[in-house]
Each structure stands twice: as C-alpha cells, then as structure tokens.
Amino acid sequence: MAGPRTLFDKIWDAHVVETLPDGTAVLYIDKHLTHEVTSPQAFEGLRLAGRKVRRPDATIAVVDHNIATDSSRYGRIEDPESRQQVETLERNVVEFGVPYIPLTDIRQGIVHVIGPELGLSLPGMTLVCGDSHTSTHGALGALAFGIGTSEVEHVMATQTLLQKPAKNMRVTVNGKLPAGCTAKDIVLAIIGKIGTGGGTGHVIEYAGEAIRALDMAGRMTLCNMTIEAGARAGMVAPDQVTFDYVKGRPFAPKGADFDKAVAWWKTLPSDEGAHFDKEVVLDAAEIAPQVTWGTNPEAVLPITGTVPDPALVEDEDRRAQMQRMLQYMDLQPGQKLEGLKIDVAFIGSCTNSRIEDIRAAAAIARGKKVAEGVRALVVPGSGLVKKQAEDEGLDIVLKEAGFEWREAGCSMCLGMNPDKLKPGQRSASTSNRNFEGRQGPGGRTHLVSPAMAAAAAIHGQLVDIRKLQEGV
C-alpha cells in the first residue's frame, strides 16, 4: 500500500474482499453479535429465501434489551411481545445453528459488555451488531459499527457488508484529566464541542495523552458514545493496555496464536503522517464533570453551568427547538444545573456498567444513604460483572446505601423493558441518550458519569463530584 495509513485504513484494507467499479467494497466481517430486537426480521428473511447463516462460528446471540433485570426474568416473561421476541430468538438460534448465551448463563449480559469481556471482540477485527452502540468495541482497536436489520441479514447470509470507506477523523485529547472527571466526561465534552452530527460520515480515532491514560473500560465508554457524535465507529489504537486486557479471555487467541496476533496488532496504529480528513483537539485539563440539560447529547454543560437562554439564539428553528427542550425538561433559562432535584439515579447500560463503573459508584455510596424519595438502581452489564462486584462486596455497600442491585441487562437505558421512568420523573443516568422519552414516555434524562450519578442519588440532586472529593 502506498503512503502512510490510519488505523481505520489498515483494518479496512485487510478486510476488502473485492472492490466494485463504483468504489463500494465487499467488506469481510470477522464477528457478528446479535440480540433479540434487531434480528427476528433478518432470520425471517433468510428463511423465506432459503438461505443459511454462512458462519455460525463467527456469530453469537444474546438477549439483553427487553428482559427484566429482577428475579422475575427467570420465570415466564410477562409482557407477551417481549416474550415472543425472546422465544423467537431462541428458536432461530437452534434452527440456524448460532451459538447462544441464554438468560440463565452467567456470561449473559449487554452485548457490548460481554463481547470484550469474553474475548469475542479483538483488535484488528471487523465487528458488527444490529445496534448503534457497537462502536463500543472500537476501544480494542477494532473496526466496529452498528447496522440495520437488512444488514444483519446480509452479514448472516454472506459474512460481508457492502460499504463505502468512511472518512478519517482524529480527536486528540492532550494533557491529564482533572480529578473527578472520567471517560464519560471526555466524550460528553467532545460531543458538546463537535455536535451530534460532528462525526457523520467519519470514523473517529481517539488519540492523545488523556486517551492513552484511560483503562479499557474508559476507552469503551468513549467509543460507545461516538455514535452520539454521528460517527458510526470510534477507535483507540491497540497498545499494551489492550493486549493485557485481551490476554487470557475465554475466546481470545492462546499461546503462540496470541503472540502472533499481538505481532499483527502492533502494526495497526496509524502511521506517522497518515491523513485525517478532520482533526479536533481538546485539552483534558479544561474538562469538568459534564451534565446534559437538553434532549440530545450535544446539549451538555459542565456541572457548574447554567441552562442556556433560547432568547439569545438567532436562528428561529434552533430557538424553537431549544424552547421545546427546556419545556420538555422543565427547566428555566439561567437555572443552575447544580442542585437540580432528581427522582431516579440509574447506573448501568452499555456505556457505564462495567466493574470499574460499579466500583466508582460504590466508592461514593460507601457509608452513605440514598436521599429520601429517590430510586437508585445499579444494573451490572453482565452476569460476570455482577459476580465480580459481589466478590468484592460492592453489592453489600450499594444495598446498604439503599441502591437496588439488579441482574444484567439494558434496563433503564431505553424504555422497552420493565425498568422505566414515569412521566415527569427526572433522572441522573449513566446511559447514552437523553432523547425525549428514551427512558420512558415523559421521562427527563440528565446524562452523567457513574460517580456523578451515585452522588446525585445520595444528595437527591445534581452535585459537583469534585466538591465531595475535596470533602467540602
């Protein structure tokens, strides 16, 4: 290949089966994760056309979106539509020979948590799933992106996708992240800066000292929310942190294969002088704990901020949209975000439900009590995360503080299982989308980091985590 290439270019080039005359590539897909919500119509399509799943060994299915996260899930699923979707998946995996992790398996969990955890997602891979937060797996240095159901069917039938190459974008975060700030605050700050469409048509590679310093869980949070900036995939170049994380995971290569894999993975980071179509640079030192105030993730401010005033917005449509946001969120221009009363705190979702996130929440909760009238949930991302937390005694810390300790699943991130906000309720949530009705019709979502959500639960309001940590 001529010229210096980016991480994205290298993985892309290694997976092009053929290039069609108009530049569309038949792109090989190494791993396909699937779940109950976006797969039934794809399996049905295969069945109607008399097609098979080309590589069941490269495919794995799990249920996560519409299952309950309390003990009721082990009985008969009450909601008839949810039950039908889960049962349909269970029939389909048998009919098409696809490996499946059932609800009763300790490895069950949110698809984007279990992929890396089990070593199913690896550096250098192309990985897809019928879910936009598939960008998460880019944390390992993989090209991972969400697809629609027609593409799910396409991958099942052909193990490929028809794709045009994305443009390259690099977001560099220099310097050291201040105390009290996390990967969640970095990514919210980035989305606040570039907007929800800032990455459209691009794959974002994250670089810089503050990114290198993140552990794998932090990198997953960062890549997870890349889709909220419009980019289908986010990536972090694989390094020693990545290799140490992957080593020994159940489906990761072993022994000589592992060494051989690492040798290849080490060639993946972007070459010196590689071309990026778009560059954004941030200074980590300027990042403060972030809170969203509106109904899309770019409507975000530092916790020290005040609600913006639509009257100051010139564009008529944008002004109307901001007014609509404030009305929906029941906020007034100039109102301080700090001190805003909440009804629910949710710690979980594919963004923030890993053991590191639960440790952060437990550290805040230790010896404290959830404020009266506040419902606080901690929903581990997988059965294995749950077990690890219990082995560390974190469940006890959280339960003693008044948090609900739940089973693994998507839970209150999206309103399609029993965990929902009631109309008008306000949440501090570690999930990824603050869209109208996302956590339940009429629910009002403020996106924050796990420590910020736990602190909000304890105080019954949004608080600046840095003040607590200073002991003020």
């Binding site: 089966v17 053929e18 108009d22 038949v26 090989y28 919500v37 976006t38 039934p40 119509q41 056309a49 060994d57 495919t59 979106h65 519409n66 539509e81 949810s82 039908q84 979707q85 199913l120 891979m125 019928g130 936009s132 969400g146 697809i147 629609g148 159901t149 027609s150 593409e151 396409h154 052909t158 193990q159 490929t160 028809l162 929800t196 469409g197 459209t200 048509g201 889709i227 909220e228 289908r232 489906f251 990761a252 290569p253 294969d257 051989k260 894999a261 290849w264 449509d317 109307a320 949209q321 999206l414 309103g415 399609m416 109309p423 989308r433 869209f435 109208e436 009705g437 996302r438 019709p441």
Partner: protein, 205 residues
C-alpha cells in the same frame, strides 16, 4: 423491495434538526418480529397524547398531511439508534422519501434497503421546500430518482445526487444479498487466506 422511480405527493413539513430514531419510533414499539404494522406507531410520542388520542398540533394528524408521502426536515435526520424500524415505520405510514440537509449514516443506509429514498439538499433549499410543504395539498412535490431532481410546485427543478450503486438497486427494486452472493468465490478465497494467517478467528464459539 419495491422499486422507487418517481413519486409525486404531499410533503409534510417537520422543521426540526436532530429528529432521532427514538422520535421516529420509540423503543417500546420495537418488540415486533415483523417488518410491517409500525405505521400507526410512527412518531408516537409526538403524534398521540398520553391517553392515546391524537395530538391535533402534530403535522401528520392534520389534513392533507395524513396522506403525506414525503417528509421535509432539517439537519441530522435519523440520528441515534440503528433500528431499521424507523424506515419500516415511515414506509408503513406511506412516506417513501425524506428530504433533509443531511442524514445520520445508519438511517441513511437502512432507508435505501427498504425503498425509502433519503434526499440530501442544502439547508436553504430545504427551507424553500419547507415553505412549499406548508402550502398543503395543492403544493405537491415530485421526486424523480431516474433524473435525480425534485420538482417544486412552481415547476422549478432542484437536482440532487444519490450514490449510483444505491440508485441502481432502488430503481430496480433489487436486494443487496443477491448481488453479494455473486461474489461467493471471492469470499471463499478471502476466508481461506485469512484462516491460514489468523486461525483463531475460526475457532468454535
């Protein structure tokens, strides 16, 4: 998939940016195993009141937009979740074309695969079309994919561009899988080479 050649119909104005797929079809309606039947839930949170009655202020509850076949919106239409239920719901309602300054990538790709044509035009042009759409039933728009033009009610033609491969599939109502299957020998060859170099990618799961 139904072919898309030329469409003449009522356009509904939705003058907002960032119309996300949770707005187009809220998650609680994703518990279906079919592609059809989602039209009644299209924009459900905006279209219906809490008690299930229609919200008369919502554009698709007003004449003539109940029969809209085209939607005009602003930037970043279809952002958020990858749910293909979004184009399925639009299609089931009867909307076969969305015109906006730009589209979120996954929605854009999902639309083509279901015979819903996303047309990207500059913001100023979308504002003009928004005005046309506000004129209602006497102001129908024509979207001609063959010639790649939108025809305004005043006869003005606005050219647009669509990826040639996507256009070909849409004009002929072809599905991708059949096309890709023709490359099976190349896929076999790729797998043989990859398997030799990275055998761990072929281990049993």
């Amino acid at each position: 998939m139904k072919a898309f050649t030329t469409l003449t119909g009522v356009a509904a104005p939705m003058p907002a940016a960032n119309i996300d797929t949770d707005k187009i079809i809220p998650a609680r309606f994703l518990k279906t195993i079919a592609r059809t039947g989602l039209g009644k839930s299209l924009f459900a949170n905006m279209r219906y009141n809490e008690d299930g009655t229609e919200n008369p202020d919502f554009v698709l509850n007003q004449e003539p937009y109940r029969k809209a076949e085209i939607l005009i919106a602003f930037d970043n239409f279809g952002c958020g979740s990858s749910r293909e239920h979004a184009p399925w719901a639009l299609l089931d309602f009867g909307i076969r074309c969305v015109i906006a300054p730009d589209f979120a990538d996954i929605f854009h790709s999902n639309s083509f695969k279901n015979g819903v044509l996303p047309v990207a035009l500059p913001r100023e042009v979308c504002e003009q079309l928004m005005e046309d759409a506000r004129m209602g039933g006497n102001a129908r728009l024509t979207v001609d994919l063959e010639r790649q033009v939108v025809v305004r009610p005043n006869g003005e033609e606005i050219p647009f561009k669509v990826d040639p491969f996507r256009r070909h599939l849409l004009l002929n109502g072809l599905d991708d899988i059949g096309q890709t299957m023709q490359h099976a020998p190349a896929i076999d060859g790729f797998e043989a080479k990859q398997r030799a170099a990275q055998p761990w990618l072929y281990a049993e799961t």
